[in-house]
Symmetry: D2
C-alpha cells in the first residue's frame, strides 16, 4: 500500500485526488495539509467524501510527516512546490506536482511568466514532464514529476501526431480552447461567480496565457524545432471540461490523418481516437481520466481541425497525476482510473 | 458472475445502469434491448461507455435471450414490464423494474393514475417494493422488485423515522420537492429543452403527480394508518439531483429528532444523517448511491423540517436497483456502489 | 427631469438601477458612488451600459453632490443608509433605500438580526415600507422609503389576500422559497462560485434568515395580529429569479381563492394573477418588474398552495425602487418599467 | 403606425419579435400565424407577454390578412417564405424574412445546402441581404429583405474591415464560433435537451454548416474576390449568445487594426468596437441589438484575432429584422432597439 500525502488539499484538484484515490486499490491518503483549515475534517469541507475519509483531517504542512509518505502530491498555487520539493526528495519521497512549478524547463522563462524568481531551479534537471503519452519511460522511476496543465494536456495530445511526423506548417498552429470554470480553481474571485460566468462566454488572456510557454515547449519537443502557436482560451459556462479546437495546415495533403492518430494512440489507455467525423463532447469524459480526439478536414482542404476533450480536473490534473504515480511505482497504469464518465 | 439483461437501455436510467455495472465485480451485462436502436452499439449512443462496453449492441427484446439472464432490469416507460415480467419470472429470471409498473399495491389505483388498465395485477402479490431501508428482508430472495421512484425515495427516507414512531401529525405532511431535469428522462419534449428549463424554476403537477400515491402508500405503511400529504414538485435548472424539503408538525416536542434519525439509519450504508444544522447539497450525492438527510426545527417550534437529497438517477433509480440486485442475490449490498460523488 | 443619485453602484442592484433608468423618460442619473471604483467609468465595469452612460463615472460619496439630487437610491450593504440618510433628507433629497436599514420598524429587532446597533432609529418614524400594493398612499410624497427585500416581496404578495381576509390559520404559514444566485450579490464568496452553486440545490439559513422578521412584520400587519411563519430559503442554480411556494391552511374552505386573488390585484400593474391551474416560471418575469401568482388547492383539501415568482433584482429590488420613485414624485407608476421579460 | 404581421410566431425569433416590438413606438403587431397553435393566445404560450399582447392570438396563415399588413416578418423554417413571399409582395406588403430562404444569391447553391429546390428563384433579384452595416442604402425602400443568420452576422461584422481593405490573406480565414442553445430553435430535439446540452461543450457540423456559404458569400463581396474560410461552430451551454473568435493573417503588419475598426464602425449604432485589449462577453449584449467587437494581435505577430459577440436572437435575428424594418420605412434605425443588455 502506497502512502500518499497531499499538500494543499482544499482546492478542486485536492478533492479530486481524494475522490479518485478512494477507488485506488494500492494507495492510501495518510496526510493532507492546509494552513487555513488545520484540524478541519475533510468531510466537513467536502461532504461528498463522507463515508470514505471519515478519519482524515487537514493539518499544517509538516515535512517530517510528508517525508514519511511514499509520494506527495502538490495541489497548490505556484511557488509552494518550489519551497518544499527538495526536502521531500531528500527524505526519499517521490513528488508529483500538479502546479506549474516544474513544467517549464527554462527557469528564466518560468520567472518571466510567473512574475517571481524560480525557487528550485536546481531540481529542474531531474523533473520529468508527466505526459505519459510522451514521456512514459522517463516517468518510470522518476522522483519528481511535473504534471501537465489542463490546456497543455488537451492541446498537446491533439497536435502531437501531426508534429511528430512533420506533417503540418509548424509556424501557423492555432489552439482555440474552451474551459469550464473549475479551471479557475476554488478561489473567491468575482469573475468566477455563478452570476458572472453563467450564461455567458468570453475569451480571456488573448495577449498571453501562462499555459502558452508550456504548450509551446511540448510542441517544440514533438516537432524537433521551433513552432508558432496562437493560443486563445475561453471561459465557458460549465463546471468541468476542456474542449480544444486545433487548427493546422497540412504540408502533405495525401496523408491519412485519421489512420495516423489511430496508430499513434493505439496502445494508449487514456487517449481515445473517435471514429472519423465525430464531435466529442466534454461530458463524455466528465470525471474520467480520458482524452477523446477527433480529426476533421473540412471541405477536404489542407486545413486539419482536431477536436480534443478532457476533464480539466482529471486527465487535466488529478487523474493524470495518479496515472503518473502508477507509472512511477511500476503499477498498472490504469489502477483507480477505470470509472466511467458521468453522463448525463 | 451474474448475467444481467436490461430492457429499454437507451434512456438515462439505462446508461446509468451500464455506468454503475461497469464497476460491479460480480455482474456482467449480456443483453440490452431497444427497438429503435436495434444493432447500434451502446458506445455509439453513449460515447462515455467507450472502452467499457465495446462489444455490446442494442437488440430488439427477445424473451429467450432475456430469460437466459439471471436478472433483468426494466428501464422502460410504464406498461412494458407489465407485458414481459411474467414470462421472465416463469423462465426463472429475477425482474427488477425501475418503472412504476409494480410500485402501487392497488391495481385500480395504478390504473387511475396511469390512465390504462393494470397489465399484470396477478403479479402484485409477489412484487416487493424495493426500498431496502424498509423491506430488506422481503427483498432478499424476491423474484420481482419494484424499484421506488425518485421523489418517493427522497421523501420516504426523509419522513420515515418520524412516522414509524408516531411523532408527527400524519394528516399535515408537506413535501416540497425540487428535481433536476433528468427526472423527465431522455425524451424530446419542449419543456425539457435547455432553452426552456434553463435559468428558470417552476412548480408543476401541483394538482397531482403520479408519485403522490406511491409516497402516500409508503407513508401509510410507516405510520400504520392514513396520512395526509401535500406534494409539490418543482423543476430545477440542474441535470441531476432531488432536494426534498419536508415539513411535519411534532405532536411531542420533547423528542430528540436528531438522535432519532441517527439511530434509525445507523446501520444503513446508503443513508447519511448529517450533523445537526447541516444543509445537504444535491451535488454531495451526484453520481453516488446515497441519501443525505438533515433535520431542523426552525425557531425551536413544533414544526420539523427535513432536508433529504439524492441523485435521482442513482439512489432514485439505477443505483437503488443495483442495491436491490445485490440483496436479492445475497451479495454485499454495497458492491459496485462505493464510488465517491462527483464534486464539483 | 428628476436628478438621481445612486450610492453603492457597483453591485447588481446598482447596475440594474442603471439598466432600468436608462429607459425612464423622466429620470436621469447624475451621480453614482463607489469608494473602491472612484474614477472608473461605469461602462468599464459594466460593458452592457456602453452607449447608454458613456459619460458617467463612479465617485466617492459626497453629501453635497448627493444632496443636490432629487432622489438618492442606496444600493449598499446594511449600515450605509443609516449613516447618510439623515443628511440627505435634511438637504431636501428623497431617499429610497434598497438595503435592509429601514425595513424593520423595531430598532431592537433590527439590531438583533443584523448584529450591530441601529444607526438611525430616529428616522424610523417616517420611513415607509415601499410595498406599493400595501402602502401606496403612504409612499406618495414620502421622504424615506425602505424598499422590501426580495423574499419578502414574493412572499408577502403571495400571502396577503389570504391574511387580509382572515381566511387561513395564521399560526401555520410556510414559505419554501428558491432564489437565484444573484440574491447573494456581487461579492467574491466561495459559496457563490459557478463551481459551487452550479448544478446543485441546497437549503440555507433554515435556522433563521434575516428576511424572516421582515416578512413576519408584513404578515402581522396584513393579518392584524401575530403570525407563525416557517421560512426556508434555497439556493438555486440560476442567475435571477425567486420562486416562493407558500402553504397555508384555510379556515373556511368555501372561499373562492382564485377570485379573491384576482379581485385583490385587479388594479395592480405589477402583480399578475395567473389563470387557475397555472405554474408560473421565474423566467416569465426575468428582467421585468412583475410578480406572477398562481393559486392551488391540491386534491381539493384545506391546504392552499400559492406560487409566487419575481425577478429578485427587479420587483425584488431595483424595479420596485423605481416604482416607489414614480409614486413618490406623483408620476405614472409604470414609467420606465414596461419592458417585456426576457424569454428564453 | 406600421401594421406588422408575423408568420410562424411560436418559435424563439417569433417571441423575440413580439418582445422587441412591444417597445416600438411606431409598429403594431396585428397578425401572428401558427398552424399548430391556431386560436391560442400568444400569452398562453409565452406568459412573459401577459399584459403586453392580451388580445393577440395565433391564427392560420391567411394571405389576405397578411397582405393587409405593411410588413410581414417570416420567423419560419426554410421553404415557407419561398411559398408566400411572392403573393405578399404583389399585395404591396414588405417582406422581411428571418429564415435562410433569400440569403444566398445563387439558387443552385441554396438548393445544394438545403436539400430541396429553391422555391422562389425569381425573387432573388430584388432580395436585399439585410446587413445594414453593408447594405444600408439598398435596404432603404427595399421590398424583400433576407435577414442574415446569427453566425453570419457575428462573423461578417468581425471580418469586414480587414477584408474590405485587403489587409489579410483571404485564403486562410478561420471562424471558430460558439453558440448558445437557442440557436437550435424551439424544436423538440434530444440534442437540445437541458440534460444533453448542459454542462458540456462540443463542436458540430465541422464537415459543413449551412451558414458557411452565406458567410463566404458576404466575405467575397467584402474582399472583392474568392475567400477560403474554415468555419467550426460549437454548441455552448448557455441560452443566448454567439461568440465568434476569428483568425486571419495580416499581409501588412504595419496597419493600425484597432484604429481601422474604430473608423469603420464609428457611425454604426449597433456595432461597438471595444477598447484595445478587451474581451467582450456574450452577456454584455444579452437581449440587446448590438455586436461588440475586440481586436487582438497576440504576441505582436501577423495573426490577428477578432472577438465578436452578439445575442443570436437579437442582432442575430429579430433585432436585426426590426433594424431593417426601421430602415425600409425611413424611420430612425434605432427605434425600439435601445434597451440595455440584461446583466447579470
Amino acid at each position: 500500500m502506497i502512502k500518499v500525502g497531499i499538500v494543499g488539499g482544499t482546492g478542486y484538484t485536492g478533492v479530486e485526488l481524494l475522490r479518485l484515490l478512494a477507488q485506488h486499490p494500492q494507495a492510501e491518503v495518510v496526510v493532507i495539509t492546509s494552513r487555513s483549515e488545520d484540524g478541519v475534517k475533510v468531510t466537513d469541507l467536502y461532504p461528498n467524501l463522507r463515508g470514505h475519509y471519515d478519519g482524515l483531517a487537514f493539518s499544517v504542512p509538516d515535512v517530517a510527516k510528508l517525508g514519511a509518505c511514499d509520494v506527495v502530491f502538490f495541489a497548490t498555487p505556484h511557488g509552494v512546490a518550489h519551497a518544499l520539493a527538495g526536502e521531500l526528495l531528500d527524505a526519499g519521497t517521490r513528488v508529483i506536482d500538479l502546479s506549474a512549478d516544474f513544467r517549464l524547463q527554462d527557469a528564466e522563462e518560468w520567472s518571466r511568466w510567473y512574475g517571481q524568481p524560480h525557487g528550485a531551479a536546481h531540481l529542474l534537471g531531474e523533473a520529468v514532464y508527466g505526459l505519459p503519452e510522451v514521456n512514459r519511460e522517463q516517468i518510470r522511476g522518476a522522483r519528481l514529476i511535473a504534471v501537465p496543465g489542463c490546456y497543455p494536456t488537451a492541446t498537446q495530445l491533439g497536435f502531437l501526431p501531426l508534429l511528430e511526423n512533420g506533417l503540418v506548417d509548424n509556424g501557423r498552429l492555432i489552439a482555440d480552447c474552451k474551459s469550464g470554470v473549475s479551471g479557475a480553481g476554488r478561489a473567491a474571485k468575482i469573475s468566477s461567480l455563478f452570476t458572472e460566468a453563467g450564461e455567458s462566454m468570453m475569451a480571456y488572456a488573448v495577449k498571453g496565457h501562462r499555459h502558452l510557454p508550456e504548450i509551446s515547449q511540448g510542441l517544440r519537443r514533438a516537432a524537433g524545432g521551433e513552432v508558432g502557436l496562437t493560443f486563445v482560451p475561453h471561459l465557458t459556462p460549465m463546471i468541468r471540461g476542456i474542449h480544444a479546437t486545433l487548427y493546422a495546415t497540412l504540408v502533405d495533403t495525401s496523408v491519412d490523418v485519421q489512420g495516423l492518430y489511430e496508430k499513434r494512440y493505439a496502445d494508449e489507455p487514456f487517449v481515445d481516437v473517435m471514429p472519423a467525423g465525430s464531435h466529442p463532447e466534454t461530458r463524455s469524459v466528465r470525471g474520467a481520466n480520458m482524452c477523446r480526439v477527433a480529426v476533421h478536414r473540412p471541405q477536404g482542404g489542407d486545413l486539419v481541425v482536431i477536436l480534443s476533450v478532457i476533464d480539466n480536473l482529471v486527465k487535466g490534473a488529478s487523474g493524470q497525476a495518479i496515472q503518473n504515480m502508477n507509472i512511477v511505482f511500476g503499477m498498472d497504469e490504469r489502477l483507480g482510473l477505470n470509472n466511467v464518465a458521468l453522463l448525463p
